[in-house]
């Protein structure tokens, strides 16, 4: 994807990328004819959680590593807990029903709040106002001013997801619910009834959000189909029967035509199929399927990949939507980058349906919260975080201290696709002369489709002004644009 020599090239830098979770920087390197020769999404910050956790007691890990992120800490919390289940010798099917179901409820609450946040707060300004609209109104406050009902629903959808997390993890952010071998609380009847009371509205609004996204995608399909799109492999976990499962399952990867590359790979065997490449210009690694190598083995994860890899969804409304989604590409995998949004809202609906089913399940009021096993000292947890497949791998010594941690976070899995999406958009929209607002917006829109959590992959940072600089081959700034 990248040039090996950079002489006689101009460099354009977009920093930071706004309305993504975290802080990214984009540089475009131009040749003497002002054609885009290289596009890179740089991740220049470093987190180091894999080192922090070394020496800490294993039961502390689910609470410690979730501090990677304030957006989807539940994903890290649960993924580490799953790995620690394996460390203490508790297999996924040995969790008590209340243990597994409370974790699932927490996870679906997390999926709901994260997807709602991304679509309504981060992505919808681009869709509702257009990619070229004035940034002064193309933001969440602009949405609130022009579409107040939608904005209120967005806030309440997210709030509901956070309430689910609070009742399962003890706190809305950075709770302690999942412990090695299970959970530390069940769902009281009062908590259950409170959640059930609001659910019909939440379901209705989820359907409404999905309809809005579908309508936009269909109306702009001609423009969106090629926007930052490219054929790719797709990877996720799926349930043993092929159903979408965001919490547990085995790895499956398919190519751009739907042919299975790997299937049924148990989490503990992830290293037999996944490798990571380090490139000197980014702190974010580049994962790939081992047998295909780094050139051909990169893949996409997240909602689009999950809709592509699964055979079906086990909740009725979301399954109907999945069928409509796959009909668009006649049953073949959907490789349209902007279809991530549509897929994301199908998953949001699925999460709400799952919450509904769980709230009717009396297992959630049971008291046998944890299971015991025989210490193994090594564990791998994999789950589908809102942004994609999340891997946690730990080794623990006989003193109960973590000696090794390897985390492959969702955004890292999407590293190569995001770079490619930036390059595709730059090739399409850069006119060879001026760095326009429209180009910058489109690059951001393409990156944003992946809902990248750069804080998760590396570092946490809020929104900052956007600075664009073009350099000639001698490193001189030839053009500069600032968006504050």
């Amino acid at each position: 994807m990248t040039m090996t020599t950079t002489t006689e090239l101009k460099r354009i830098i977009i920093e930071p990328v706004t309305r993504v979770e975290g802080h990214g920087k984009v540089s475009l390197l131009l040749d003497a004819q002002n054609k885009v020769k290289q596009a890179r999404l740089h991740i220049v910050e470093f987190r180091g959680f894999e080192r922090f956790v070394q020496g800490r007691p294993y039961w502390e890990t689910p609470v410690l590593v979730q501090r990677l992120c304030g957006i989807c800490p539940v994903s890290h919390h649960l993924c580490a807990a799953k790995a620690m289940d394996m460390v203490i010798g508790v297999d996924a099917d040995q969790l008590t029903p209340v243990g597994e179901k409370m974790r699932r409820l927490m996870h679906y609450g997390q999926t709901l709040q994260s997807h709602a946040l991304h679509f309504f707060h981060l992505a919808s300004p681009d869709l509702l106002f257009g990619f070229d609209a004035d940034p002064q109104i193309r933001n969440v406050l602009g949405v609130a001013a022009k579409f107040p009902d939608l904005a209120v629903r967005a806030v309440l959808l997210r709030r509901y997801g956070q309430e689910v997390i609070k009742f399962t993890a003890g706190k809305k952010i950075h709770g302690t619910g999942a412990v090695p071998g299970g959970i530390n609380k069940n769902l009281s009847v009062a908590e259950r009834d409170e959640l059930k009371k609001e659910l019909p509205k939440i379901l209705e609004w989820s359907v409404g959000g999905l309809e809005l996204c579908k309508k936009f995608t269909r109306e702009h399909l001609a423009e969106l189909a090629d926007f930052g799109s490219f054929p790719s492999n797709h990877l996720s976990i799926v349930r043993k029967d092929g159903a979408m499962d965001l919490y547990d399952g085995n790895l499956r990867a398919i190519d751009s035509e739907g042919k299975r590359i790997i299937d049924g790979v148990a989490p503990k065997d992830y290293l037999s199929v996944i490798r990571e490449e380090v490139r000197p210009w980014s702190y974010m690694k580049f994962p790939f399927l081992k047998d295909l190598g780094p050139e051909k083995g990169w893949y996409r994860v997240g909602p689009l990949a999950r809709l592509n890899t699964c055979d079906f969804i086990d909740t009725p409304l979301a399954e109907k939507e999945r069928q409509e989604f796959t009909a668009l590409t006649k049953g073949k995998p959907n490789n349209i980058t902007m279809a991530y949004h549509w897929a994301r809202l199908i998953e949001m609906l699925h999460a709400v349906e799952k919450i509904q089913l769980l709230l009717d399940d009396p297992d959630l009021q049971a008291d046998n919260l944890t299971a015991q096993g025989t210490f193994r000292g090594e564990g791998v947890g994999i789950l589908e975080a809102p942004r994609g497949t999340l891997f946690h791998h730990y080794r623990v010594d006989k003193n109960d201290q973590v000696t090794m941690a390897n985390l492959i976070v969702s955004t890292t899995n999407n590293n190569e696709p995001m770079n490619l999406a930036v390059r595709k958009v730059a090739e399409q929209f850069f006119d060879g002369r001026a760095v326009t607002e429209g180009l910058l917006n489109r690059i951001e829109v393409a990156i944003r489709a992946y809902d990248p959590c750069l804080s998760c992959a590396t570092h946490a940072m809020g929104q900052m002004p956007l600075v664009v600089e073009a350099f000639d081959e001698a490193g001189r700034v030839v053009s500069r644009a600032v968006k504050s």
Partner: protein, 240 residues
């Protein structure tokens, strides 16, 4: 029956001979903050969080005997500021990461920080290099969180009869150490020992039970530290 009375902030407090100011205050429902003091342990006077003015002179309430007619100042702006400073210094001289510490919600240092309205310490963090001793099968020591209160030293010596812990070095270098080469695993400490149970912070921990109590049901989630003592001062129902 009391033997005599003295005053705390002008309130007459009954006391028995041999009682410390802190014990008499507890019995009267007056909470004087403390960290190194624990029931059934000989007072240490290490942390100075319980500092009061006795007839105008600073003294630790946990070690100073109550005396007839004594005038004690306790809940004054000056003393509150002193205590808060001590707690803030304890936070910065160790590595106290409440956000993932399993003692969070049950930690007396954290609870005092909340009670005293500490938002963030005014002093710079020292980030000391400390170790974790997890060599014992059932108990671990995280020296990062130790505040050198000496409860474990006194409990092991006086209640357990084992001398597992002791102070080493002097002055502000003083630390709690394990009394064995090769770490805690080479001592005869048991998880049931008082020394393993009385740590006010997350320094001495029973293994594999962290986070078992959910957020919202931990010791200080609902009521601030000291509430149980102050509850004794609740006005008696009318008619009695």
């Amino acid at each position: 029956m009391s033997d005599f009375t003295f005053t705390i902030d002008g309130v007459e407090v009954p006391a028995k001979r041999g009682q410390t100011i802190l014990e008499a205050a507890d019995a009267a429902g007056i909470y004087i903050p403390r960290l190194c003091w624990a029931k059934d342990l000989a007072p240490g006077g290490h942390c100075r969080v319980c500092t009061v003015l006795v007839n105008g002179r600073p003294q630790s309430a946990c070690t100073h005997p109550a005396g007839p007619g004594m005038v004690v100042d306790h809940d004054t702006a000056e003393l509150r500021a002193w205590r808060k400073n001590i707690v803030e210094m304890l936070f910065v001289e160790g590595n106290h990461y409440c956000m993932f510490c399993e003692k969070s919600g049950n930690c007396e240092l954290q609870a005092l920080g909340y009670r005293m309205g500490m938002t963030t310490p005014k002093y710079p963090y020292m980030f000391p290099q400390r170790t974790v001793d997890a060599t014992h099968p059932d108990v671990m020591v995280d020296h990062n969180r130790c505040i050198a209160c000496g409860r474990c030293v006194r409990a092991s010596r006086d209640l357990d009869g084992k001398n597992v812990f002791q102070f080493v070095q002097r002055g502000h270098h003083v630390r709690v150490a394990v009394n064995a080469d090769g770490g805690l695993g080479r001592t005869n400490l048991s998880a049931a020992d008082q020394a393993a149970q009385l740590c006010p912070v997350g320094a001495i921990l029973i293994k594999r039970v962290g986070y078992a109590v959910p957020v919202g049901r931990r010791l200080y989630d609902v009521k601030p530290i000291g509430s149980e003592i102050e509850a004794k001062r609740a006005p008696a129902p009318s008619g009695k």
